[in-house]
């Protein structure tokens, strides 16, 4: 099957790599105690959550770029 996506649009997926960087490197976004989950302040669970986030973002980029070949 022919892949219809143009290469330039496919490269937009690279922006996904920026999302986790901004999410964890700007403490202004997450340096709060509330809302907490199960006693864990927002500061901690937000950053722990982005470990899964980065795995997904990098994984999606990997899969999209591999199909592009």
């Amino acid at each position: 099957m022919e892949n219809q996506t143009r290469p330039s649009r496919r490269k937009l997926v690279l922006l996904l790599l920026l999302v986790p960087l901004v999410a964890v490197l700007v403490p202004e976004f997450y340096n709060f105690a509330q809302p907490s989950i199960g006693g864990m302040p927002f500061f901690y669970w937000w950053q722990l959550l982005w470990i899964a986030g980065v795995a997904v973002c990098v994984g999606v980029v990997y899969l999209v770029m591999r199909r592009a070949r």
């Binding site: 960087l21 490197l25 403490p27 006693g39 950053q47 980065v54 795995a55 973002c57 990997y62």
Partner: protein, 532 residues
């Protein structure tokens, strides 16, 4: 203060060590090539590791025993700022994903085993390559020494006086690494990581259950930290330091020779890229290990060892395990920490030894060295590096080594322009890169020199107080970032000015950085060939 000797724990740790030593020697036979006597086979495992082995190898390499004891100790001592390890190990993967893939391709194409070798080929500059090689080795040496602090923390907690267990552990490690090369830590990494995953899983469920939940833990930690003037949240003046430390450490991580070794030992470019989305699993583990620091605060753990004024806080995790777990499980966890120190120490020594053999011995001492001789030099260098590390820890003051490690990242990031920018562009002039390195390194070392700590007047910390430059603020910045920015400014500014000086010969071509997949393997999903 030395706690009472615990025979059960010691027996379990010694038994686990013996199993690992046998595995290390057996690794000689694992996926063996024609001969082990070359940097390719001994130092890179024949560049044949697939996705799973690479995952264990790089994971075992980057998330070290030192991390496991030092990061919780940091949260124990200073609160939220210590959690920088989590954004650091998140940011690293999007940042290095494509650079690591390009690095793999060009090194595979030209048979480079180290980043200094790549720099020599790319920029045609033996001087720049030598600087890169020395930077890598210098940054790695204290890192190897620090792996011992993990073992030392466990030994102290088990109530053993003296340094003889350190010597035994490192001599055995040196011998099996000498014979088996990179295959030994790759094989042992399986055992290490499975043990550590189990240990962490149990610890983050069982200890909060015993202490009364995460609510109690964070409240207990907050009140203990508040007494020392710290908090479980950052203060406004800590933001810049937190961000630059996390970002800078992420940029520095894959510049270490041992990280490059892990990447180059993999079978294909695809394996490298795929691993960038699989490796964060280790970060999750690290995040929970970090929280052990707060659990120790909430459980009122008292560190053992060190002096009364400055207790050895790296012992808090072993002491916490000792007080919360039954002894047999604490013994297993201690064994995991000890093995967790041996794997990265071996890979670091191999990475630095490869760099010595390929980038110092061959070009400068014996240009006619055969592959076999080069391999032997690398083997011997790895032994010397490891025994030197024990000597440093036993002989010198431990605090000195700890401060030295802080400098490691600051030092190694100075090769970023030559290595990483070199992967993308040939615009930079080789002498401009040399000048950038000199300025960046000089500025960083000066900044480190004027930074005091509680116990020392110089080289106290890698967090530089901006008030030292007369700026009226309590903010700090990670020294390495300032150094590498200066480095880049100099390299960029000088490149047009040096246009008349001859450029080095570039032996790579643009295509070398792109694909060069390995031939399809008989098992496992190969590269995506034949798709339309």
């Amino acid at each position: 203060m030395i706690p009472p000797f615990n025979g059960l724990e010691f027996g379990i740790v010694a038994g686990m060590f013996a199993v690992v030593a046998v595995l290390g020697f057996m690794a000689t036979r694992w996926r063996r090539g024609t001969s082990l006597a070359s940097v390719e086979e001994w130092g890179l495992g024949g560049r044949r590791f697939g996705t799973a082995v690479t995952w264990f190898l790089i994971g075992g390499d980057l998330y070290t025993a030192y991390t496991f004891v030092a990061v919780p100790a940091l949260l124990f001592g200073t609160g939220a700022a210590g959690f920088f390890a989590v954004p650091y190990t998140i940011a690293v993967f999007p940042l290095v994903m494509f650079a690591a893939a390009r690095m793999w391709s060009v090194c595979h194409e030209h048979g480079y085993a180290t980043s200094a070798e790549f720099v020599r080929g790319r920029h045609g500059s033996p001087v720049l390559a030598l600087l890169v090689a020395i930077t890598g080795i210098v940054a790695t040496m204290p890192y190897i020494a620090l792996q011992l602090t993990g073992i030392k923390a466990v030994i102290e907690t088990m109530g053993i006086g003296g340094d003889w267990p350190l010597w035994i552990a490192f001599v055995v490690l040196a011998v099996y690494t000498f014979t088996s090369g990179l295959r030994a830590p790759a094989l042992v990494a399986f055992v290490k990581d499975i043990l550590i995953f189990v240990m962490v899983l149990v610890a983050v469920i069982y200890i909060p259950y015993k202490l009364g939940g995460y609510n109690v833990i964070f409240h207990g930690a907050q009140s203990a930290l508040a007494a020392k003037g710290y908090s479980t949240l950052l203060s406004g003046s800590q933001y810049l330091g937190y961000t630059t430390l996390a970002l800078g450490s992420a940029l520095a991580l894959f510049l270490y020779p041992h990280a490059v070794t892990g990447v180059l030992a993999s079978r294909s470019r695809d394996v490298v890229k795929k691993n960038m989305s699989l490796l964060p699993a280790y970060s999750l583990m690290l995040g929970f290990i970090a929280l052990l620091g707060y659990m120790a605060l909430a459980a009122h753990v008292k560190p053992v060892g060190g002096t009364a004024a400055k207790p050895d806080t790296t012992t808090i995790v072993p002491v916490l395990f000792n007080s919360e777990f039954p002894h047999w499980f604490a013994g297993l966890a201690f064994g995991a920490i000890v093995i967790g120190a041996l794997v990265p120490a071996a890979i670091m020594a191999i990475g630095a030894a490869n760099t010595f053999a390929r980038d110092i011995y061959k070009p400068y001492i014996r240009p006619n060295a055969s592959e076999r001789e080069e391999g032997l030099v690398s083997q011997l260098a790895s032994v010397i590096l490891k025994l030197g590390a024990v000597g440093v820890i036993v002989g010198l003051k431990l605090t000195f080594a700890l401060e030295f490690q802080l400098i490691g990242g600051v030092v190694v990031i100075q090769i970023l322009p030559s290595v990483v920018l070199g992967l993308y562009t040939r615009w930079y002039h080789r002498w401009a890169l040399v000048a950038g390195w000199i300025v960046g390194m000089g500025l960083s070392v000066y900044m480190l020199y004027i930074t005091p700590s509680a116990t020392a007047t110089h080289f106290g910390s890698a967090s530089f107080a901006l008030s030292s430059w007369g700026i009226d603020t309590k903010m700090t910045i990670w020294t390495g970032i300032v150094g590498v920015v200066a480095n880049l400014v100099v390299a960029t500014g000088l490149t047009p000015l040096l246009a008349r000086l001859p450029r080095g010969r570039d032996e790579t071509s643009p295509g070398d950085y792109l694909e060069a997949e390995a031939p399809p393997m008989p098992f496992g999903p190969g590269p995506a060939v034949g798709r339309t």
